[in-house]
């Protein structure tokens, strides 16, 4: 696959990949999305397209193929674009290939921190970290796919560096 993290040499620190468990999270999420689409397609096939000139069930078939492609290839591609680092004085979160985002939040600018785990994440043994800043643009930065212990460690290390900066 021809995907590499964008311009890693520009970073002052090496980016770390997410936990493998997050790949499974992505796969399950894609599977759920595609299952919903498939159900809609099947309903349309059954109710609307009955007696159509085209062979019966073509829509469901097409969506099924699309789903297989999406579930088998997309999660891996998405997973590879993610990267993060907590070196230095800032949290850096990188993701997306087509629309690439590379966010840096200085630890001293963090207002409060969440560590969370949804049902799918629990199934795959990963947690996510959310930092909130005071900015009006991009005030919530989410870093998914962390080992729960590591997430707590990052939380604590950010926590330790938050100091009063207003008098």
């Amino acid at each position: 696959m021809d995907i590499e993290p964008v311009a890693p040499e520009k970073a002052d620190t090496e980016l770390q990949p997410l936990e493998q468990g997050y790949l499974r999270v992505l796969r399950i999420e894609w599977a759920i999305t595609m299952a919903v689409l498939l159900a809609i397609a099947a309903a349309v096939d059954l109710l609307v397209l009955r007696g159509n000139a085209l062979p019966w069930g073509w829509l469901s078939g097409a969506v099924l193929l699309l789903s297989l492609w999406a579930v088998l290839t997309l999660p891996a591609r998405q997973f590879l674009t993610w990267g993060h680092s907590e070196e230095g004085d800032a949290l850096r979160v990188v993701h997306g290939y087509m629309f690439h985002t590379d966010t840096v939040v200085p630890f001293v600018r963090v207002q409060h921190i969440d560590v969370g785990q949804g049902p799918i994440e629990r199934l795959c043994g990963v947690s996510h970290l959310v930092v909130h800043t005071a900015g009006t643009h991009n005030s919530i930065v989410t870093l998914p796919g962390l080992d729960p212990v590591r997430a707590t460690e990052i939380r604590d290390s950010i926590r330790a560096r938050i100091q009063t900066d207003f008098a």
Binding site: V6, A7, K10, A11, D12, D89, A90, M98, F99, H100, T101, D102, T103, V104, V105, P106, V108, R109, V110, Q111, H112, I113, D114, V115, G116, Q117, G118, P119, R122, H132, T133, A134, G135, T136, H137, N138, S139, I140, V141, R155, R159, I162, Q163, T164, D165, F166, A167
Partner: protein, 519 residues
């Protein structure tokens, strides 16, 4: 973390760091909150009554109550909060777990809220206000704990803050505010001639939109129909105006245009005078104090500590004449419609510099080489897209066997088919070039300067220490050009204006590293 037994002593104000639960009576509150919602069950109850199964009504309601209690109880057991030496953490969620940490240093204030029932039960809802920009529902809440506990918690947090801010003050060696300095000192004022000039620049044809809207909404505001040409022709004929207008068409057109200018100018002047009459900006002890207004007088305080960025803007004509306006982006917003505080509606650059100097901002323009520019490739993006879309849609139309729609008005044929998109694309390229030329930025080691816009040029001065986060984004087009946009998160304001567009990739990373280093 949540499963340790959180037995709540009547009022335990020591906050030793063990997990606590919400007050058990919260369960009762949850049931009470259901009260209004049970109205939804009226149809069901009616149905039971009508079908002669009235004896089921009470058990059905009871079951509903029981289910609610069980769900509230599960949520209650999965919610715990802990006060440590310097932060509050809240663990919540039944299926999706969330563990939030709020450092005391980030808590601006602790709110205590009591409804009627909560008051009767001696409970209170505690909210932690942080500077976080997210909406209210995202703020941390304890719903509900005992009132005494809530008050103790607030005192605890405030005590911590008081100690810390005192420490910061002595550390920076800031002198105590001098009594003599607390006197307000005028910094900027709008004289009447300048106010009128500002009004002219606020030229607006909005009055026509208002009139038009009125006419649309109330058909019979006027005793005649102004959109009926026959009505006007009738009037002009009967007064002999028609002959005169026929003879002096050109003059009539000029007259109409002058009318338009006068009306637009008058609208601008009235609006500006209403808003900015007696405009006066004072330097007070902690920041600026702005007084203005004719009918509605306003008196606004703008503490320096809350100012995040300065925005100098002007118009294409105003710039030629050397006039600018200055706004300050602050944590608070300036009224309903404006997010930034207007501190100088119409001023010369040296006057702006004087205002900026009061708050430690410098509008240092530097030399031409110090300003960075975006990738010039972005100029051609919009034209290329327009040209392609135009060509793709028009060529098949020409090739259609009965291309009557086009061939009626494009007789020369294929030349114009490509010519039309070419013309639009050229205009787009010109606009793109103007936009590219007017956008530049520069980091002077302390403040980031961003300039943008040719129709209404804007110069933003953003001190690096006010940047909360930096986003480097790029899509398919910028990837090809090896360039990226840099968005900065800054508190207050409307957001989305602190952007450096299409910086070459190296420059984008270099600039961000420099800004982060300056924080």
């Amino acid at each position: 973390m949540t499963d340790s037994e959180g037995v709540i002593a009547p009022v335990d104000t020591a906050f030793t760091g063990h997990p606590r639960r919400l007050h058990p009576l919260t369960l009762l509150l949850a049931v009470v909150k259901l009260g209004p919602r049970t109205l939804n069950f009226l149809p069901a109850i009616l149905a039971l009554g009508v079908t002669g199964q009235a004896r089921l009504i009470v058990p059905a309601l009871g079951l509903f109550l029981l289910v609610t209690l069980i769900f509230s109880w599960i949520a209650w057991t999965r919610f715990s909060w802990t006060v440590d030496s310097d932060d509050v953490s809240i663990a919540s969620g039944v299926i999706s777990r969330k563990h939030r940490t709020i450092p005391f240093d980030r808590i601006q204030d602790v709110t205590i809220e009591q409804g009627v029932i909560a008051r009767a039960l001696g409970l209170a809802k505690v909210g932690f206000e942080t500077g976080s920009a997210a909406g209210d529902e995202d703020e941390a809440k304890l719903d509900s704990i005992a009132l005494a506990e809530a008050e103790a918690l607030r005192a605890h947090v405030r005590a911590h803050r008081a100690v810390n801010s005192a420490a910061v003050l002595t550390a920076s060696g800031e002198p105590a505010p001098n009594a003599a300095e607390s006197q307000d000192r005028p910094v900027f004022m709008m004289t009447m001639p300048r106010l009128l000039l500002a009004g002219l620049f606020n030229f607006s044809l909005a009055v026509f939109a208002v009139l038009f809207g009125l006419l649309q909404t109330f058909d019979d505001v006027l005793p005649f129909d102004p959109f009926d040409a026959d009505f006007w022709i009738g009037i002009t004929r009967s007064t002999g105006l028609a002959d005169w207008m026929d003879a002096h068409r050109w003059l009539a057109a000029v007259g109409g245009f002058v009318m338009l200018l006068l009306l637009g100018g008058a609208t601008g002047i009235v609006r500006t005078v209403m808003r900015d009459y007696g405009f006066r900006l004072d330097r007070s002890e902690r920041g600026f104090r702005r007084r203005r207004g004719l009918a509605t007088k306003t008196d606004v305080a703008i503490p320096i500590a809350r100012v995040q960025a300065a925005i100098i803007s002007t118009g294409i004509i105003r710039r030629l004449l050397g006039w600018y306006e200055l706004r300050l982006q602050s944590l608070a917003s300036d009224g309903k419609n404006e997010s930034d505080h207007l501190v100088a509606p119409l001023a010369r650059l040296d006057e702006l510099d004087a205002i900026l100097a009061e708050i430690g901002f410098v509008r240092d323009v530097g030399t031409e080489e110090q300003w960075q520019r975006g990738h010039p490739g972005t100029i051609m993006v919009a034209p290329a897209v327009i040209f392609l879309i135009g060509a793709i849609t028009l060529i098949p139309a020409m090739l259609m066997p009965d291309a009557t729609i086009l061939s009626d008005w494009i007789t020369p044929g294929a030349g114009l088919v490509l010519g039309l998109p070419l013309l639009v694309a050229t205009i787009a390229a010109l606009l793109g070039w103007l936009g590219w030329k007017s956008h530049c930025w520069r980091f002077d080691g302390r403040q980031l300067h961003i300039r943008r816009g040719w129709l209404s040029p804007t110069h933003i001065i953003l001190p690096a220490r006010n940047i909360q986060s930096a986003d480097l984004t790029l899509g398919p087009v910028l990837r090809r050009l090896a360039a990226a946009n840099l968005h900065f998160g800054v508190p207050g304001g409307s957001g989305g204006q602190h952007v450096v567009h299409a910086a070459p990739m190296d420059e984008a990373y270099r600039l961000r590293a420099a800004l982060m280093g300056a924080i």
